[in-house]
């Protein structure tokens, strides 16, 4: 159980998907203007990332490895992710049309989020068991959501600040992102401690 906890902390904080692996940067910059939308996007990504990692693990173990089709891994995983997004969209529409109105906008964005594919590839490279792989994907996506919400909170505050014209907009956002990345580097001490 201790190994699980350490692995999950490592995936969420030390090797954060956004700030350490630099994946999913388009949604990191594009959907973080409000905390609400960042949290909505983060939760949707968490769901899709975890479920697609579960399916990808099964596909890798029982299809690609069993039939020696490793060269099809990337394209197969992309297909799995797109299918998971479509499945999620269908399920949410079935659960509640109102929920679909509110949340449907984020789902197509997730299909093109490289962080989802990146985590799926890391999961199979890690050669972990099924539950460990799922927990790793879940922890990675929690780290993704955490950074999205923190960054959105900072940008909400920044919107009220008197930023010099030269730095207004994306430049100050990038500076902020770099400071946040440096702050997260502090977690790397956990892995060596």
């Amino acid at each position: 159980m201790k190994e699980f906890a350490l692995m999950m902390i490592g995936a969420a904080l030390v090797n954060n998907v956004i700030l350490a692996r630099f994946l999913g940067l388009c949604s990191f910059m594009g959907v973080t203007t409000r905390i609400d939308t960042a949290a909505g996007m983060g939760l949707a990504t968490t769901f899709v990332m975890t479920v697609s990692a579960m399916i990808d693990w099964g596909v890798q173990r029982y299809l690609l490895e069993a039939w020696d089709l490793g060269y099809l891994r990337t394209i197969t995983f992309i297909l799995v992710i797109a299918s998971t997004v479509q499945f999620t969209e269908l399920v949410i529409r079935k659960i509640s049309p109102t929920l679909f109105q509110m949340l449907g906008i984020y789902l197509p964005l997730i299909a093109t989020n490289c962080a989802v594919l990146g985590v799926a590839l890391l999961v199979v490279e890690g050669r972990m068991g099924f539950v460990a792989s799922t927990m790793f994907a879940f922890a990675s996506s929690v780290g993704f959501s955490l950074v999205m919400v923190i960054f959105a909170g900072l940008r909400e505050r920044l919107a009220l600040a008197n930023v010099p014209q030269l730095f207004a907009g994306p430049p100050i956002a990038f500076i902020l992102a770099s400071l946040l990345a440096m702050a997260f580097m502090g977690f790397s001490g956990i892995s060596t401690g």
């Binding site: 594009g30 409000r34 609400d36 939308t37 949290a39 909505g40 939760l43 949707a44 968490t46 769901f47 975890t50 479920v51 579960m54 099964g58 173990r61 399920v91 949410i92 529409r93 079935k94 659960i95 509640s96 049309p97 109102t98 929920l99 679909f100 109105q101 509110m102 949340l103 449907g104 906008i105 197509p108 068991g129 099924f130 539950v131 799922t134 927990m135 879940f138 505050r157 009220l160 600040a161 008197n162």
Partner: protein, 181 residues
């Protein structure tokens, strides 16, 4: 050094989450609205013609067909007409509640089932089956939760005001008639 005052949550009222929608049909006291697509080109009033189609822009998989699938009803405040663009809003926190219901609940049951399987030292196949069952259970729970939220009216959008004519990107094709108020 001058400190910049920030309004705290106690001082400022919580804002509504706003979005722009277009009236596509009026049925008695109900107005049917289509949300305006927000895209990387900042979204514009020409979204219904977007996607590069020169003919029928409502083909399978087009932006317009996706928008048609996301139509929603609103009590007509009286003077809305077809083609008008309006701003609608939902309560602060509704998006979070919706996302928690739709995503966090199924995930929680799925991971709990996986943790139980791991605790029981079951093999990978048993863990996969139990997590799939947990996911199904979570989806059922989400359905019940979503119904409760809808019954309480927490997810219902509200009419706020009429929208100004939005920017139209030159590359987005022609504007459909009546799409700008």
């Amino acid at each position: 050094m001058t400190m910049i005052p920030h309004p705290t949550r106690a001082e400022a009222p919580l804002p509504l989450i706003e979005g722009t929608a277009r009236v596509v049909r009026i049925e008695g006291a109900t107005a049917w609205l289509e949300p305006e697509q927000t895209t990387a080109c900042h979204g514009c009033a020409a979204a219904a013609s977007c996607g590069g189609d020169t003919g029928d822009s409502r083909g399978f998989g087009s932006v317009a067909s996706r928008l048609a699938g996301r139509r929603f009803a609103l009590d007509n405040p009286g003077s809305l007409r077809v083609g008008e663009r309006i701003v609608v809003g939902v309560n602060h926190g509704a998006l979070i509640k919706a996302a928690l219901t739709a995503y966090a609940l199924p995930l929680a049951t799925t991971l709990s089932a996986g943790a139980l399987a791991e605790w029981a030292a079951a093999g990978d196949l048993v863990a996969m089956a139990s997590m799939a069952a947990g996911l199904g259970l979570g989806i059922l729970a989400a359905r019940i939760g979503a119904r409760r939220l809808a019954d309480r009216g927490e997810l219902d959008p509200r009419f706020l005001r009429r929208a100004d004519a939005g920017p139209v990107a030159a590359s987005c094709g022609e504007l459909s008639p009546g799409s700008v108020a």
